[in-house]
């Protein structure tokens, strides 16, 4: 069966989606990403959809699910590369991504994820002395 490759870069997983994304493939990606977040301990997931020339409500929902799922697994998701025409259509269609972060391109998306990783990492180490004092 077809699978979408998931690349690992540092603490992040990177996925690039292309035009002929059918429903089953999107669902497989959702499961694969969840497994990879757990097995790699990734803190960030970047999904590049610059190759998609349309995002309908099903694909939109799967992308939203992925973001929520990864959040539950302690990883931040950023969707990048949304084309203007796709964005306009999504809004008109009525898809709302309340928990989905977006960035203009891969570079900004990675910067956002790095920022998130660097924000969460020191906090954990800062917690330790506090715990020791108690």
């Amino acid at each position: 069966m077809d699978r979408i490759p998931i690349l690992k870069l540092g603490d992040c997983l990177i996925v690039s989606l292309h035009v002929d994304l059918h429903d089953r493939l999107a669902l497989t990606l959702q499961d694969d990403l969840a497994s990879r977040v757990v097995s790699t301990g990734a803190k960030g997931v970047l999904i590049d959809i610059s190759g998609l020339d349309m995002v309908d409500s099903f694909i939109g929902r799967i992308l939203g699910n992925i973001a929520t799922l990864c959040q539950v697994l302690d990883a931040e998701t950023v969707i990048v590369g949304l084309r203007p025409a796709v964005a306009i259509t999504l809004v008109e269609l009525g898809v709302t991504w309340t928990h989905v972060r977006t960035a203009l391109n891969i570079e900004r998306g990675l910067a956002l994820l790095q920022h998130h990783v660097s924000l969460t990492a020191p906090e954990e180490t800062r917690d330790e002395p506090d715990d020791a004092q108690r």
Partner: protein
């Protein structure tokens, strides 16, 4: 909708997810050939994807007829047909957020917003959704 269609009507089967993808591609090619703007192409393809999925999921398969309209304006007409159980409460089905298929419930209401004309008729064994996008 008393529009005339060109004889170049194309009928595409919708019996699998791959067919849904093929419908998107055929509609995209047609919209490109007719000269739709990129935004209108995207709206048309997205609506086609929603409605083709409905045919597959709710209608247990069917077909799409794709026609280029020449009069009164240039446009693309898509007719989605299935012989499934039909939609018992059309008004409710057209409401935003109403879904029986485990989706977002944006298929019908959303595609109606993306198109210029939207007509639906449904009874058990015969559901037909006709949509038109006019060239701006």
């Amino acid at each position: 909708m008393t529009s005339q269609t060109t004889p170049r009507g194309e009928v595409l089967p919708v019996h699998s997810e791959d067919d849904v993808v093929r419908v998107r591609q055929a509609v995209r090619q047609c919209a490109l050939a007719v000269g739709f703007s990129l935004v209108d192409q995207t709206k048309l393809v997205t609506a086609a994807s929603e409605l083709a999925r409905n045919v597959l999921v709710h209608g247990h398969g069917g077909q799409v007829r794709l026609d280029v309209l020449a009069s009164p304006r240039i446009g693309i007409q898509l007719v989605f047909e299935d012989q499934g159980p039909g939609i018992p409460d059309l008004e409710r089905a057209l409401q935003e957020g109403f879904s029986t298929g485990g989706g977002l419930g944006l298929g019908l209401s959303g595609s109606r917003r993306l198109m210029n004309e939207f007509r639906i008729q449904s009874q058990p064994g015969d559901t037909r959704v006709t949509v038109i996008k006019w060239k701006a």
